[in-house]
Symmetry: C2
């Protein structure tokens, strides 16, 4: 019998390597920025957080036989740059008008709305260039490099994250069907999580079968993650959550509102089960991804 | 003696082909958007304008022997998507708070601030994907395709347009040196104009010499364009300009403020001269680019 996977140690160690990659990424950009903007960018990007997207990318890369080294963390960091942009813009007054993010003032509260708008938008091309250059260091062939960047950009755009946020905005205060809600979150949260897996397996040069299986894993934990977020929002205070539980205030449709707490929990567990089955289908050992799937619904914030 | 170049007819015909390419680009994105957001995107992208960046891209491509067809307009349209995003965000309340753009309400006045923020940001990945796919249809080798997209993203990001806008923001109300002002505008306006030329020559597979010469052309007309903008802002009303002459209101540093009207005009002409010299250095016939260089300072809006 093998020892149980040390998820806590794994997450701490991986978050540290992601943090180092983000520091490298920002150092490359900061020379071109004024000091005010550089600080806002650091605030948005280096504000802690779980680093779930980059960690998933690296885990998928390793599970598919990718080599060790810093370059995969540089690729993974591109996902966190996009994620940081989306949070910086989400929190703006014209969107969620949030004061707190991860227990600290949001970027626009600390650095102003105009600077945050710009700093956020500039992270999009920075992320694409970051991914493009990292895949060169990883030795990926040009077609693969292009597919990796395409995957990142598609997940970031109208067909993915941003499209999901739009649907979310338009659904505010309206009745939505369960299918609408799944579709919304598959794009809003799920697209970038699935892209994390896809970018890792692509960079590792994995064959189609494990790539497809890990893609399904990404979609399943994306949905599980969002349901868990809704449950946390419904059961937590700002103090334990480190942000305002704002989705309720804005009377957005949530899984808890639609199904009740018990059924929402059951659905989150169902998605975790699908994710674990996908790892089995991939046919490679991926203890980190199995542990991460369970963590997504077990986390406290 | 050859007939004089028919700039007016050329601009009208080219703008029409760019418009058709933008319609194709939006049609590809709109299926994924809700109707509200699709309308805001159309408002921002199809709001008229000179289409100078795409027209320059196509002209450079043709001057370097690129073939006819729609694909180069699809590539050129990616520049206009980035330009449209920058205008949509520039006009937002937390930036210039503009009511008018090209004689019509700005996108956020017509479609709301939240939708405009999202629609603008989504144009960045859309533009990168648009450029990537167009270079495939143009038959460019993978390394060239990558360089084209890299050029677009670099010009759109912290090292280019957005960086210049930041410097602009930070310079508001402060005394700037002539060198600061040139540097600011080389990035804010010049980066994307130079990228337009670079993308055209790269896509045509031009050798380094004409590519370098056309790059200098792009930088020179970028600066000429900005000086001409300052002159127009200083001498026009909102009615003739189609937008609020807002740079003056916000007491930003302008060439007219720094040098006076006569010297600003002389400097704009000097940059046009440099652009025309660069066309000579390129060693290829480019009557359209010569006419466009003169047009940049002669235009009325």
């Amino acid at each position: 019998m093998t020892a149980p996977f040390d998820l806590k140690g794994f997450l701490a160690q991986e978050a540290e390597r992601v943090q180092a990659a983000l520091e490298r990424a920002l150092a490359a950009v900061e020379g071109t920025l004024g000091p005010d903007v550089a600080e806002a960018t650091r605030h948005g990007v280096l504000s802690g957080g779980k680093r779930l997207r980059p960690i998933l990318c690296v885990a998928a890369y390793r599970a598919c036989g990718g080599s060790e080294g810093d370059a995969i963390y540089d690729l993974a960091a591109s996902l966190e740059l996009i994620h940081a942009y989306s949070l910086m813009h989400d929190d703006l007054p014209c969107m969620d008008d949030a004061d707190l993010r991860r227990g600290r003032p949001t970027t626009h509260r600390a650095h102003g709305e105009d600077v945050t708008l710009r700093a956020g938008a500039a992270l999009i091309p920075a992320a694409a260039l970051q991914a493009w250059r990292a895949t060169e260091r990883l030795g990926c062939p040009p077609a693969t490099r292009a597919e990796v960047v395409d995957t990142l950009l598609t997940a970031s755009g109208a067909d993915g994250m941003v499209g999901g946020q739009w649907v979310d905005l338009e659904a505010e205060g309206k009745a939505v069907t369960p299918e609408d809600l799944d579709g919304l979150h598959r794009r809003k949260t799920g697209a970038l999580l699935a892209a994390a897996l896809d970018m890792g397996t692509l960079a590792a040069g994995a064959p189609p079968e494990p790539r497809e299986a890990f893609h399904r894993y990404g979609r399943a934990i994306g949905l599980a993650f969002q349901i868990a977020d809704d449950i946390l929002d419904a059961t937590s205070t700002a103090a334990t959550l480190g942000k305002n539980p704002s989705d309720n205030d804005l009377s957005k449709s949530t899984y808890v509102a639609l199904y009740g707490l018990a059924e929402a929990r059951r659905r989150a567990e169902g998605q975790v089960g699908e994710a674990l089955a996908a790892v089995q289908d991939a046919g490679v050992a991926a203890p980190a991804l199995e542990a991460l799937a369970r963590y997504v619904v077990a986390r406290r914030h």
